[in-house]
């Protein structure tokens, strides 16, 4: 946390002049970065209460940091999920694939194949490890930076790319901005551009599951910046009032575009500590420690399934890249931040752990990275057969008017006719 404001020192004087506090991040472009002020607790030192505990028992954990992987690359303490090596290798593979996918799609945007892309570099654990700790039919309400969930759940890469290219293979018919995926079959809720709206929706879904006596739970993700939205308050409130079986994941990657987390209230309290005021269980987790993310999610999922209520998890991580392809982070933060980030990189940390326990080596890692790159490349080639943005291989005009309502009302029929008439004038040879 950055420095918090102090009092003016003028107490007791008559009418001391008031001062507005405008938060300021510690480091701006060109600044030397020193993260030594961050309290990073030792891996394994955090207690792990029972999943069905009273929310108050989690209070120490909303300011601490649940960590499993230590500097020695070994797993420590009661939060160690004790995953077998195969599961951890799968986790490593899904994170590596997510990163390879991001690299290629970023390049695709720069090559003009699509209009827009957003990477999740450095945050892969917060989606991949979390998704692995849930059942495949638990419903997820993600924001735009959890592509790792789709990849973990086996959604075909080619379908993701079709959506990014808005081509004729795009299941969303070119209606949505790139990366605003939707897959009901993968229990992945349609992504919206409007921040935090998915959070009360996730709670509503979880309430519905509880009303029906189902056993499925819901989880939602939002950035720390979006916690400032009123919807997040509504979500926390409804989640606790109805004891909804839901996990509220706050991915605190320190930055909301150019605004540091202080503008979301992060100077004065951790985001996990928001849980306390609602009477909700809260956990603050090292978001770059895939085993800690897995363990915390599994704990919260178990809690939800046991009707013990919702959990708010803050994943403390760092947005290693720009906000989007339309963003240049060198304009507002020090370029050193990424390298100085004290919690490292989630993929490297899991890789190093697997090597440390004799279940992996650098050669296999190189082979995995190559395999991931090849997999994405092949999917990209397949998707490009369906077209790239703006090359005519889009969906028929009439689809623009479908699905506004279940049936086309007269005014949309008239407008569809108009669009098709205009097409003949605008593109006579199309």
């Amino acid at each position: 946390m950055a420095d918090r404001p102090n009092g003016t020192g003028n107490a007791g004087h008559n009418r001391p002049s008031l001062r507005l506090h405008v938060p300021e991040p510690k480091f701006r472009p060109g600044d030397e970065v020193d993260f030594s002020h961050l309290a990073i607790s030792e891996a394994g030192a955090q207690p792990r209460p029972d999943e069905t505990c009273d929310p108050a028992e989690t209070k120490p954990l909303v300011t601490d940091l649940v960590r499993v992987l230590g500097d020695d690359n070994k797993a420590h303490g009661p939060w160690d999920p004790r995953l077998d090596a195969d599961t951890m290798r799968t986790m490593l593979e899904k994170m590596a694939l997510t990163r390879a996918f991001d690299e290629r799609m970023y390049r695709g945007q720069r090559q003009g194949k699509t209009s827009f892309y957003m990477k999740c570099t450095g945050e892969e654990a917060t989606s991949v490890a979390a998704a692995m700790a849930m059942a495949s039919d638990d419903m997820v309400f993600p924001s735009y930076r959890q592509q790792g969930i789709l990849i973990t759940r086996g959604y075909p890469l080619v379908e993701m790319i079709n959506q990014i290219y808005s081509n004729r293979g795009d299941k969303l018919k070119g209606r949505q901005l790139p990366i605003m995926y939707s897959s009901r079959a993968h229990s992945f809720f349609t992504i919206s551009g409007n921040l935090a709206t998915q959070t009360p929706q996730a709670v509503g879904w979880a309430m519905a599951s509880a009303m029906r006596g189902d056993s499925r739970i819901a989880a939602t993700w939002l950035g720390e910046g979006s916690t400032a939205e009123g919807d997040f308050h509504a979500a926390c409130l409804f989640a606790t009032v109805y004891n909804a079986p839901v996990i509220l994941n706050v991915v605190n990657n320190q930055w909301a575009i150019s605004s540091f987390s202080g503008f979301a209230g992060g100077e004065r309290a951790t985001f996990a500590s928001r849980a306390v005021g609602y009477g909700m269980a809260g956990l603050r987790v090292d978001g770059n420690d895939p085993l800690a993310v897995y363990a915390a999610t599994a704990w919260a999922a178990e809690r939800a399934r046991a009707n013990a209520g919702p959990t708010l998890i803050e994943h403390f991580t760092y947005r290693a890249e720009g906000h989007s392809t339309s963003d240049d982070p060198s304009a507002y933060r020090s370029a050193q931040e990424r390298n100085e980030w004290p919690l490292g990189d989630p993929i490297m940390r899991l890789k190093d752990h697997l090597i440390a326990i004799g279940e992996w080596d650098e050669e296999r890692q190189s082979a995995l990275d190559l395999e991931c790159a090849e997999k994405v490349k092949a999917a990209t080639k397949d998707a490009e057969k369906n077209g790239i943005l703006g090359h005519g291989l889009h969906h028929p005009f009439h689809t623009m008017f479908e699905d506004v309502f279940e049936e086309l009302p007269w005014h949309l029929e008239e407008q569809a006719d108009q669009a098709i008439r205009e097409r003949k004038i605008k593109w006579p040879h199309a």
Partner: protein, 332 residues
């Protein structure tokens, strides 16, 4: 009308286990207007329940419940208080089907008392229907009689698109003819108060011809249907009155047929004038019936001010304003 709404909710709760009702004070207490009275007792707390005072949460949770497969019927206590839920309605409920290419839908019906004429002042009188008719993906329904309230509400709940169902609270207990200084008649004396027992529905997108006539077409909905009817009778004008019932989708065929017959059109609503739904109606009539028109299309509406408390009857588009407009059109 309250009993008709309660009846519709009762029938849908019993017909379809996915129907649930939620909102502020709707559960144990039965709603501040009694529309949900007795329903929690009959169907239990997981079908009919109270919510926190948070409209964003009410609508947002309903969207999530719809995604699960339920058919929520959230209540917003007054239409004046629907605004905190607007982002969820406009950005989410209205666009869910479109942006997911039909993977997820929001089959919800947002019920909300609306309209003035009850000394409700600024925040218990508004008619915000134009905010919703402007949103692609939302349907907007406004009944004017107990018979229609029940049939339209059942149709709205069964509809797989999100429906904004505005209930004119001025006519909850009886029709209102605009003469605020005369005693109000209860619904039982009105022919449209006869509500058939059991299930029936009235299709969305169909207007009701309140009375047939040849001299002028009057387009209205909600409370104003009764006011224009009273004015036309009193003035002895051979008016054809259409109660639009559904604003989106609109019954354009009924409107065109009537205006082509009469050649004159008056549009009446309580909502403020500028960019109100009357502007859309006026534009449609002018565009589509221009060569049949014998006079300019007129609008009688609320004034472009917040709804006042003490000057309510100066604000309300009552018999004097409507009468003048009718005279103007007929004399043109």
């Amino acid at each position: 009308m309250i009993e008709a709404i309660n009846d519709a909710l009762d029938i849908m709760l019993s017909h379809d286990p996915s129907v649930i009702i939620m909102g502020e004070d709707v559960g144990y207490f039965g709603g501040v207007f009694r529309c949900t009275a007795g329903l929690q007792e009959k169907y239990g707390k997981t079908r009919v329940f109270d919510t926190p005072i948070n409209e964003c949460g009410i609508i947002g949770a309903a969207v999530g419940m719809g995604a699960y497969g339920l058919r929520p019927v959230p209540e917003i206590q007054f239409a004046d208080y629907i605004y905190p839920g607007l982002d969820q309605l406009i950005s989410e409920a209205a666009r869910l089907r479109y942006r997911s290419a039909g993977e997820f839908i929001a089959p919800m019906t947002v019920r909300s008392p609306f309209g003035g004429g009850i000394f409700g002042g600024q925040t218990h009188s508004q008619s915000p229907e134009a905010l919703f008719t402007h949103v692609a993906g939302l349907k907007t329904v406004i009944p004017s009689t107990p018979h229609d309230a029940k049939g339209l509400l059942i149709a709205s709940i069964e509809d797989d698109d999100p429906v904004i169902f505005f209930e004119p609270k001025r006519i909850y207990n009886g029709p209102f003819n605009g003469y605020y200084d005369k005693p109000v008649e209860p619904w039982k004396k009105h022919p449209d108060s006869k509500v058939p027992e059991g299930y029936y529905s009235i299709p969305l997108g169909k207007a009701r011809t309140v009375r047939e006539g040849d001299a002028i077409t009057i387009l209205a909905y909600g409370t104003m249907v009764h006011v224009v009817d009273a004015v036309a009778r009193e003035k002895g004008v051979d008016a054809e009155i259409l109660d639009l019932r559904t604003l989106v989708p609109l019954d354009i065929e009924a409107i065109e047929a009537s205006v082509e017959k009469t050649g004159r059109c008056l549009i009446v609503h309580e909502a403020t004038r500028t960019s109100g739904f009357g502007a859309e109606l006026s534009a449609l009539v002018t565009e589509r019936c221009f060569y049949h028109l014998e006079a300019p299309v007129e609008r009688v509406t609320g004034f472009d001010t917040p709804y006042p408390h003490s000057l309510e009857w100066a604000y309300f588009p009552g018999p004097v304003r409507i009468g003048e407009a009718i005279d103007k059109i007929l004399e043109a």
